[in-house]
Symmetry: C3
Subunit: 154 residues, 3 copies
């Protein structure tokens, strides 16, 4: 059995440095076997990669890329917390918040950018429940924010 | 003690077919004794019953009916996952997202359409914590979306 | 070791009466060792202290004060449910919803009003995962809503 580090390499993925929290919270909090990852916006080198709203200046495809990037940040945080991503037994829930222009209803397609990455990396263990909604505004005017619950080995 | 199937019959409720997910996620994910149901919009036969916003073209009463419909979909999903709704020990949390026109502040009354059904069906086991918020837009331009956590027998 | 009641006194905090729920849900639902607190708006004596939106009539500083007030309500609910706040082992997750005017991106600074109180009261046990988003509207036109998960002794 190959581990997740090998799988990331196969996929050509190098995780970023885990971004620091944007407020008075921790990036990850474990309670029993549940690991809660705080809301991630598409930060890179301390800045949001791109600001705006889906259905306005951000296309569905671009939104999905940014959702993927949020997920890479979350995996970097989980790896730092757990020591190894092999300790993730199951992705449990993904919460997806999409900053949405009036009339935009393709939040699921945007959040699929996160879900696809989780399935690619974890296979069956990457399957998850999900809620995707369209919000008015997000921190730092980000177009998308994602939070996660993982079940982990203790 | 009568079961939930009898209770549904007493209430004149026939559950719909469980709607397929709208993206790369599963309708229900169980972790230990917690069953997470993915966000449900008021789908019927593959289409949202009615689009729009509460406080605009959707009245509070209509919004509550649609919230009830989302909950029927969630129960259909739970039944398919669990085999029987008798395995639900407790509704734990309901997350309610209401697509809201400017100035609309009656999200609780809309989400009561979901909560009332849960109480009618499960009695004390239907009591739950809840968050209700007013969002900008929802998938497929639905007026309401609901997600659920149930505690179940393993 | 002093308890949380002493700590509240040191901080000059008197908890309010726990506000009643605004709909057909319970203020707190415990499942195993997890206590879910329902969404709290800044109610005082049955009324929202102030209505409006952050980035419009509500400044970041005022929003943070209102977020703190939501948290006091949540602690009052938790104390009533648990008998004593000493039974809180860990704050696990904070969900923060900020009613946001167009272009407002400082949701984290608003929700810090809740996070700071939790850290002041509980110390390390007050550290938590968090998601903060900007929503279109909130119940009773409140500027902010907060929900919580606490891990408690059984």
């Amino acid at each position: 059995m190959t581990g997740i580090a090998d799988r990331l390499q196969e996929l050509g993925i190098t995780l970023p440095a885990p971004p620091p929290p944007a407020g008075l919270y921790v990036p990850a909090l474990q309670s029993g076997d549940m690991l809660y990852i705080s809301g991630q916006v598409p930060l890179q080198d301390g800045k949001v990669i791109e600001t705006g709203k889906c259905g306005d200046n951000i296309t569905v495809e671009r939104g999905a890329e940014l959702a993927r990037h949020c997920t890479l940040n979350a995996l970097a945080i989980a790896r730092e917390h757990l020591g190894s991503l092999d300790r993730i037994e199951q992705v449990v829930r993904v919460g997806g918040y999409v900053a949405s222009a009036p009339g935009f209803g393709q939040q699921p397609q945007v959040i699929n950018g996160a879900s696809k990455l989780l399935l690619d990396v974890f296979g069956d263990a990457g399957q998850h429940a999900r809620a995707a909604v369209g919000v008015a505004e997000l921190p730092l005017n980000a177009p998308v924010e994602l939070e996660f619950i993982f079940r982990v080995t203790q």
